[in-house]
């Protein structure tokens, strides 16, 4: 039997992030080829250069954070075609051990403190939700903007007591500097979705490939949920490739605290036939936050860039549906 020619698809992600693990697993398992795809990966250190690179068609599809997903739509017409996972627990406000203790006895001790965070990110979003939860206004604390690496340096050397981080930086700081999560986005009542994205014109030209991409992605989660121990081994390998080494316990925590979805759930979350979908609500809230930071001028309606068209294509095609739901 002659192999059908493979279609190339350019996939972008950020290394050593939980939601990117399915790309790695699918490659190890050689699932792309089964659907006639030949993936070509490019990786970016952060969401911003990633979506900026779409301007030069450096990639076709990929995964990213919800903030860059919104920015990607506003600047470059990037569409969100699915939710990679629930990142709410993966974005959190951390404190050094002493500060965490003080906070535990009196949350109001946060008032007047300096919080270092990466401005206009999902981490920022989670921190804002936490402030709200404890009845603090943005002006009750001093916010300093810096990159995740600088935050880690500042907190672990005692130059900052509070910081907004996302996984796996959270684990690094917990493990190597004894910092404590004092409030995650989840605790703050914020929902932080991760986004699966596609370039607007690629989606128009190659809808079939986009559907196949989603099918592969969902099969990978399906398999990992069914085979945790092997999944952890893969995760370790994947993280190390990205220069991250965290403990097995932290890796387990990744699965425990950051739910992912199967095809049926995805369809439900993205379903906007009865008004705003669940995902629309999440993204509208993120976009409103971004407007408040000045990153965007107006809040785009979520249903302009969120689409379940490709999820539906997967569901409608028997082969793809079975592929996506295959846990082996």
């Amino acid at each position: 039997q002659a192999k059908p020619a493979l279609t190339e698809i350019k996939i972008s992600y950020q290394p050593a992030l939980y939601w990117a693990l399915p790309f790695f697993v699918a490659t190890e398992k050689n699932w792309w080829g089964e659907l006639g795809l030949k993936p070509e990966f490019s990786t970016f250190p952060a969401g911003v250069p990633q979506i900026a690179a779409s301007a030069s068609k450096s990639w076709d599809v990929g995964g990213t954070g919800s903030v860059p997903a919104v920015l990607g739509y506003v600047r470059f017409g990037i569409k969100t075609i699915g939710i990679s996972n629930d990142e709410s627990a993966g974005n959190a406000l951390l404190a050094t051990p002493k500060a965490a203790e003080a906070f535990a006895t009196n949350p109001q001790s946060l008032k007047g403190q300096t919080i270092v965070l990466t401005g206009n990110s999902t981490g920022d979003y989670a921190v804002q939700s936490c402030l709200k939860k404890y009845g603090l206004a943005k002006t009750d604390v001093v916010i300093k903007n810096m990159g995740q690496g600088e935050i880690i340096s500042a907190m672990s050397s005692g130059n900052a007591d509070f910081g907004g981080l996302w996984a796996p930086n959270i684990y690094t700081l917990e493990e190597k500097a004894g910092a404590k999560v004092i409030c995650s986005g989840k605790d703050g009542g914020a929902f932080v979705p991760g986004a699966l994205i596609v370039r607007g014109d690629y989606a128009k030209e190659n809808p079939q490939n986009v559907a196949k991409f989603l099918a592969v992605y969902m099969r990978a989660w399906k398999w990992m949920n069914a085979n945790k121990p092997q999944a952890i081994v893969m995760m370790k390998k994947f993280y190390e490739l990205g220069g991250v080494s965290i403990s097995e316990a932290s890796m387990k925590k990744e699965f425990d605290t950051r739910p992912n979805y199967d095809l049926a759930t995805e369809l439900k979350i993205m379903d906007s036939t009865k008004g705003l979908s669940q995902a629309d609500v999440w993204f509208n809230s993120i976009a409103a936050f971004m407007q408040s930071t000045g990153a965007i001028q107006t809040v785009p309606a979520a249903n302009e860039y969120l689409t379940d068209e490709f999820l539906k294509m997967v569901n409608a095609d028997k082969k793809l549906r079975e592929f996506a739901n295959n846990s082996k």
Binding site: N145, E150, N159
Partner: protein
């Protein structure tokens, strides 16, 4: 114009000018001192050179973690990052300046029986001044070009932080505003330096 990133444009410019000026002053005064000592004394040169030459290519960005660890999140850490970049041209040019003083002048000083301190004051330093000022111009440039890196250290105000945030927001117009402000401020400070230069070297008029 409307504010962006926690402040009005003039506040950002002011903050950056303060940072650049401080970094520039610290690095150039120390750099000139070291450069002159190295130029005047071969032992000091041999002592310092290997370390200097190895540390020199390390980008200011790479010093950020250490700057945070040592100096915290305030202005001093930012100044240190600028210092690292602006120090190098000050040293190299002062060194070259001292070495460029030609034998006839050195020998004339010797023949006229001048003491060591006076030799530094009357011959070495004025003789090296043209190079020292070239070094200062380059240091000033380095101070400005390191601003973006320096303001990665938890800045709330400053042109570097505007550039960082505009990059984060993928806002090319704002990036250009930042770049143009940097370019104009740098150019203006160079003009000031040129004034100082012609004041310090009346014989070059």
């Amino acid at each position: 114009m409307q504010g962006y990133g926690n402040g009005k444009l003039y506040q950002h410019i002011l903050q950056s000018v303060i940072l650049v000026t401080s970094g520039f002053l610290v690095s150039s005064s120390l750099g000139i001192l070291l450069g002159i000592l190295m130029g005047a004394n071969k032992k000091i040169e041999a002592f310092v050179n290997p370390i200097f030459l190895t540390l020199r290519p390390i980008p200011p960005l790479a010093w950020i973690p250490l700057a945070i660890v040592w100096l915290g999140l305030g202005n001093s850490a930012k100044i240190m990052v600028i210092y690292v970049a602006a120090f190098v041209p000050a040293v190299i040019n002062s060194f070259t300046g001292v070495r460029s003083i030609e034998a006839p002048q050195r020998e004339a000083a010797a023949m006229l029986g001048i003491g060591r301190l006076a030799y530094y004051r009357e011959v070495l330093i004025p003789g090296a001044l043209p190079f020292i000022f070239t070094g200062l111009r380059l240091s000033l440039q380095a101070s400005w070009t390191t601003l973006v890196a320096a303001e990665l250290v938890g800045a709330t105000l400053g042109l570097g932080s505007i550039l960082n945030q505009a990059a984060q927001d993928i806002n090319p117009a704002m990036i250009l505003v930042g770049m143009i402000s940097v370019a104009i401020s740098g150019w203006l400070m160079t003009q000031l330096l040129a004034k100082a230069e012609s004041y310090a070297m009346p014989w070059r008029a």
